[in-house]
Symmetry: C2
């Protein structure tokens, strides 16, 4: 059987799947805090727990992680896991549990799961766009999951879409993530409130500074026209980056994933509508579909498990 982990800033979640990666058999979770060696010890505990509880021999393990996960299994940089920078989590875990370990970016893993078992089944050209605190993407072109020279492909959230825009924490001006992540939606709500254009948002949140994306989404769902204007601008900003990906990759299906997909249909419809307006040469191209991910928060764990079955070679 195989195991997939998704290691986030707070929790590490694991699943046990059958040897073909078709069914989830068991689940486990622990905190992800502490040092690299502490995390490895806790991952090894979870492997033992899944194995013993299900009387399962473990053939391979996949580990999804936010940030620059090198093909070699070394985490070069992970914004949510500062203790893991330059830590060879792959080889350390492999030694601890005596089993091959594949380390992969979490959004890349999520894309592969959705392509194999989720909303992208049977589709060869997919952009999986995980909208959360930031933006992560995983890209499938001509049926192949893109990895790139180091395994870093899909860092599309850092793509500059507004070269004269504000400076982001990355030092760049106007990257996509600045405009189209969950953090961005909250900021847009606060900016609108400051400009006197989100009155009910202030009331709901209890003050301008307390406004988050949640309050924009709530008021939009309630039909508040001020919230709808903010949310529409947000959907345009998501679609702007998606249009760039479609131009570069000739994507036929966009799968929206990540925490913001709790919004559901208003997000899907808003992004798809704006994508149609923003794509140049639209009449010469088949329309691109936008759908919500099917595997929810488990996409990255499932994808990591599946990747362990057919790991990308170290470049």
């Amino acid at each position: 059987m195989i195991i997939g982990f998704d290691v986030g800033g707070t929790n590490a979640r694991g699943i046990l799947m059958d040897a073909n990666g078709e069914t989830i058999i068991d689940r486990v979770a622990r905190s992800s805090d502490g040092s690299g060696p502490e995390l490895v010890a806790r991952l090894a505990e979870m492997v033992a727990e899944l194995s013993e509880r299900n009387d399962a021999a473990i053939d391979s393990i996949g580990l999804g992680i936010a940030g620059l996960a090198h093909r070699s299994g070394v985490v070069r940089y992970s914004p949510n896991l500062p203790n893991l920078i330059e830590f060879p989590v792959g080889s350390e875990l492999a030694s601890a549990v005596r089993c091959p370990v594949t380390v992969i970016n979490d959004a890349t893993a999520g894309a592969w799961a959705e392509a194999q078992l989720g909303a992208g089944r049977g589709v060869d050209n997919i952009a999986f766009v995980a909208l959360g605190t930031g933006i992560g993407t995983g890209l499938v072109v001509d049926g192949v999951l893109l990895m790139g020279a180091n395994g870093f492909a899909g860092e599309s959230g850092h793509m500059v879409v507004d070269a004269n825009g504000p400076e982001h924490v990355t030092g760049q001006r106007g990257p996509w993530e600045y405009y189209a992540s969950g953090s961005a939606l909250g900021r847009m709500g606060r900016e609108a409130a400051l400009a006197g254009k989100f009155d009910h948002g202030i009331a709901l949140a209890g003050g301008i500074d307390a406004i988050t994306g949640y309050h924009v989404v709530e008021r939009n769902a309630a039909g508040d026209q001020q919230a709808t204007a903010i949310f529409d601008e947000f959907c345009r900003d998501v679609a702007l980056g998606v249009a760039n990906l479609v131009l570069i990759l000739d994507t036929e299906l966009v799968i929206l994933g990540g925490g913001l997909t709790d919004i559901g249909e208003p997000l899907r419809d808003g992004v798809e509508s704006w994508l149609r307006k923003l794509m140049p040469g639209g009449s010469w191209r088949p329309e691109v579909k936008v759908v919500i991910a099917e595997l929810g928060v488990e996409a990255s764990t499932i994808g990591a498990a599946l990747m362990s079955l057919d790991p990308p070679l170290d470049a």
Copy 2:
């Protein structure tokens, strides 16, 4: 033996290569004007000429063309060849010469030629960026040439990099091509001249309106500091879009092609230097190399011929 064509707005150039696509044996060229059927007749004439002159049986033909060349061999839209819109040039030529024909975007073809026989030999992750009147790109990731759902992958020139920028002919605001093509370099020269910042350019061109990219390049080569400032800004704008491609695809080698590569080292060095400044997370990533294409104006003809050996399947 195999034949490759590059059909541009003015000329159609063809080459005959050996059956393995290793050596160029002969060359031919004709005008590309007229209707779709007229172009097909002229291409068929060139096939006959190459075949007879070299006593060669033709196994396959590849045809590179600017614009949206569909996998099926239909040119959906070509900005330089308005008579070819929605014209099934692939099947028409195949019927005329009784030989399989593969139709492919010219920059995609150029990328494949550089990857196989040019500056990208032995490299698996390549962005080929053809800088001419516009920007065309061809992309190789994990050793695979990206085609996409329709064969339209690599339309990166339309990627928006300045969402609040001026409106382009495509209807978009601030696409990369607006800032970083040969046309852009000329416009930047005229804008600088209007602002009193390109005095020698006006003298060289004989007037502000007559300034083109050529004059900026000439004065830059002569050490004119005003021209150097314009050219440096241009190199930054090229690098801005290249950085986006590297983030999305984890490219290890950028090959600059197209007419602007006549500039040579100043362009290569300028783009590479700016790329290092613009890439976020630079210290965690191996540096990306920027080189000038090796196959010059024949990259697309060679690439088209090579693609005919292993044509992408119709989706």
